[in-house]
């Protein structure tokens, strides 16, 4: 079980580093609705990761992801494909990066986020946590890594739980600051939001490059073993 936890830890940290989600949750926490919306968003994020992770675990345990101890060819093909997609995404982000003093572009829904009802907040958290392409690819990789260790179903569930908890830290920590520090936390959350909004592009480019390198490396190792 420890082996599986060790393997998914870097993937979980890559999930936690989600600038847009951190901007979204800190924006919510700066509104009167934040007391409800912040925890709802974080919980929905964790549920999204859990649902996608559980489905991926069940599928990769059942779909013979490994043949006599080494990953099946289709697993390596999928990893190579995802790796190349992420390389392309990193390049596109670089082309569209904010230049000079231009403010970073944020998605349109971010402007009306202070008026979101809890139900919409939950949908947003679920989508950003479970389904957004970066987290989706990471969760598939994590499920594959857990399944490949060949541990019991109970131990697999524990490893997935650790992955979900660490992956939720990015949005849970701002919520924790909000409830633990109250007024004093406002400045910290403000600083956190501004930094993540400004550095969104750079953070995502580095993340995409590293995940792409990991996936393509895995694929090469799989093809040649």
């Amino acid at each position: 079980m420890g082996a599986a936890i060790g393997q998914v830890l870097p993937l979980a940290v890559a999930v936690a580093v989600s600038p847009l989600a951190i901007v979204a949750v800190t924006l919510m926490l700066s509104t009167p609705r934040g007391r409800v919306n912040g925890p709802v968003f974080t919980l929905a994020w964790a549920v999204g990761l859990t649902v996608v992770g559980t489905i991926a675990l069940l599928l990769s345990s059942g779909a013979s992801a490994s043949e006599s101890g080494k990953p099946a060819t289709w697993v390596s093909v999928v990893k190579l494909l995802f790796g190349l997609l992420l390389l392309g995404a990193a390049y596109r982000r670089f082309r569209e990066r904010p230049r000079g003093d231009a403010p970073a572009k944020l998605p349109g829904w971010m402007k009306s986020i202070d008026r979101f009802k809890p139900r919409r907040v939950a949908a947003l958290g679920f989508g950003l946590g479970g389904i957004n392409p970066k987290n989706f690819i990471l969760t598939l990789s994590a499920a594959g890594a857990i399944a490949q260790t060949g541990i019991s179903a109970g131990d697999q569930a524990v490893a997935l739980a650790v992955y979900v908890i660490v992956g939720t830290l990015g949005t849970a920590v701002p919520v924790g600051i909000y409830f633990a520090l109250g007024e004093r936390g406002v400045h910290m959350l403000d600083a956190l939001r501004r930094w993540n909004a400004r550095e969104n592009t750079a953070i995502m480019i580095v993340l995409f490059l590293l995940i792409a390198a990991k996936l393509i490396g895995d694929a090469i190792a799989g093809f040649t073993s």
Partner: protein
């Protein structure tokens, strides 16, 4: 790679290198923070795997 761009693309490459340098200089701190975080997670994860196997 910057060296490759310099020799392969000539003047057009100069603009690309210029853009790359400006961006790298501005985002240096952020790039290093993300790198350190992920390398730390990878190393600590490997250590956990090593201790328990």
């Amino acid at each position: 790679m910057p060296t490759g761009i310099y020799f392969a693309l000539g003047l057009r490459g100069a603009h690309m290198l210029d853009a790359l340098r400006t961006w790298m200089a501005r985002e240096h701190t952020t790039i290093m923070i993300v790198l350190y975080l992920l390398i730390a997670a990878k190393l600590i994860g490997d250590a956990i795997t090593g201790f328990t196997s």
